[in-house]
């Protein structure tokens, strides 16, 4: 029964992926890709990775999807047939591509299945020594304890993506999701929905942040939820794109990284090494770092979606 479900799920994944690649309409591909993200989240939930499922659904499908859709809109030619689009691949080219990908599948599948799971692994050691990390969730322990440098670097990646997007920024009126259709008022449901969703989203984010220490959740998921709220507020016009990054925004963008680095470097004095935490303080410090990280994840993602250097509230 379980395996049958997995089989269905895997088949669905592959079917969707094929559609994403092969479908004629680009819009269809984008939407199917988002659906694929959701199925992927399901698959990961099946594989005992609920944290990842959460993150994938929120970031991989949700935010990526929003970005893709807004880019899709931006790449639509103003008038039809202005751009003939890329020439189709010749038949032999498609065949060669198929052969190459087929070879990759074969080699990869063969290699991956042929690998024996090693008796000892970093993961086992992580589980065995989880107690020393100061948190109870293995994933959080690895992310903020054993391999904290990856997490730090990864938030820097996000910041850098934002900085990079600034380099290639478009004019403000074209940026992000673009202007809403002219001559229409706000849908009636928007305001009540926001009144409900925004506070709830904040609560959920806070809950995820707090729960990360011992169960699925953590800075990433919390950040993703916050970013989703940001996207919502930007789409509904509550947040307006701004041409400059305000000092407060700058501080929020780098604050998490600075905090993380500072605590990490202080570890050389207060604990055994850089990125080590003094034993008694491990949990609170990790929580503080996670809070900073959630902001450092949410804000650049929102700004990336907004396509602007900053955001300003618009009072109604």
């Amino acid at each position: 029964m379980g395996l049958a479900f997995d089989l269905l799920l895997a088949g669905g994944l592959l079917g969707l992926a094929l559609q994403v690649v092969a479908s004629r309409g680009l819009f269809r591909s984008v939407v199917l890709f988002i659906a694929l993200g959701l199925l992927m989240a399901l698959a990961w939930a099946r594989l005992a990775a609920p944290d990842l499922a959460l993150a994938e659904a929120a970031i991989g499908a949700g935010l990526t999807g929003a970005l893709l859709l807004s880019a899709y809109r931006a790449l639509q030619p103003a008038e039809e047939a202005a751009d003939p689009g890329p020439a189709a691949l010749p038949r032999w080219g498609a065949l060669a591509a198929a052969v190459l990908s087929g070879a990759l599948v074969a080699a990869l599948g063969w290699a991956a299945l042929g690998l024996e799971a090693p008796a000892a692994s970093a993961g086992r050691e992580a589980l065995a020594r989880l107690g020393e990390s100061g948190v109870k969730s293995p994933l959080t322990g690895v992310l903020l304890g054993f391999r904290a440098i990856d997490t730090l670097a990864e938030v820097v990646v996000l910041l850098v993506a934002f900085l990079g997007a600034r380099v290639v920024a478009e004019p403000l009126q074209r940026a992000g999701p673009g202007p809403s259709a002219p001559g229409s008022g706000e849908p009636v449901l928007t305001a009540p929905l926001l009144r409900l969703v925004v506070p709830m989203g904040v609560i959920v984010a806070g809950y995820l942040l707090w729960s990360g220490g011992h169960q699925p959740g953590g800075a990433f998921q919390a950040g993703a939820v916050l970013a989703a709220l940001g996207v919502l507020l930007r789409l509904t016009g509550r947040l307006q794109p701004a041409a400059a990054t305000s000092p407060a925004e700058r501080l929020a963008l780098v604050g998490g990284i600075v905090l993380f680095s500072a605590i990490g470097l202080a570890g050389a004095g207060t604990a055994s090494a850089v990125l080590a935490y003094p034993e008694a303080w491990a949990y609170p410090l990790i929580l503080a770092i996670e809070t900073g990280l959630a902001v450092a994840i949410a804000l650049p993602l929102t700004l990336l979606f907004s396509g602007s250097a900053g955001l300003r509230w618009r009072e109604r």
Binding site: A181, G183, S184, G185, P187, V188, L189, L193, V197
Partner: protein
């Protein structure tokens, strides 16, 4: 099999049937409005049945409450998105512009 289990299974089956109906509607109905209609009506009900069915199997009231929350949120989301979609289609067709009440 206890009564609760029987009921739960029945509800899950019913939920699945609603989902199936909704999906068939989505695929077969001719107009977007009709599809929207099939999807929202059938799926909301289907999800409710599934949630209720699962709640009957839940170990604690806490879990049951969470399931109820899930259903509630899904309802809100479905409502909002159906509304927005409908509005969008209406505008595309050059339909009448409604001012909010």
């Amino acid at each position: 099999m206890t009564l609760a289990e029987l009921l739960s299974t029945g509800l899950l089956g019913l939920g699945a049937a609603f989902f199936l109906t909704g999906t068939v509607g989505l695929l077969r109905f001719p107009s977007t409005f009709a599809r929207l209609h099939a999807l929202t009506k059938a799926d909301n009900l289907g999800l409710g049945c599934v949630a209720l069915g699962l709640a009957l199997q839940a170990d604690s009231g806490w879990v049951a409450a969470k399931l109820a929350l899930v259903w509630g949120l899904a309802l809100v989301a479905a409502t909002a998105s159906a509304h927005l979609l409908a509005r969008c289609i209406l505008r595309e067709r050059g339909g009448t512009r409604r001012t909010p009440p």
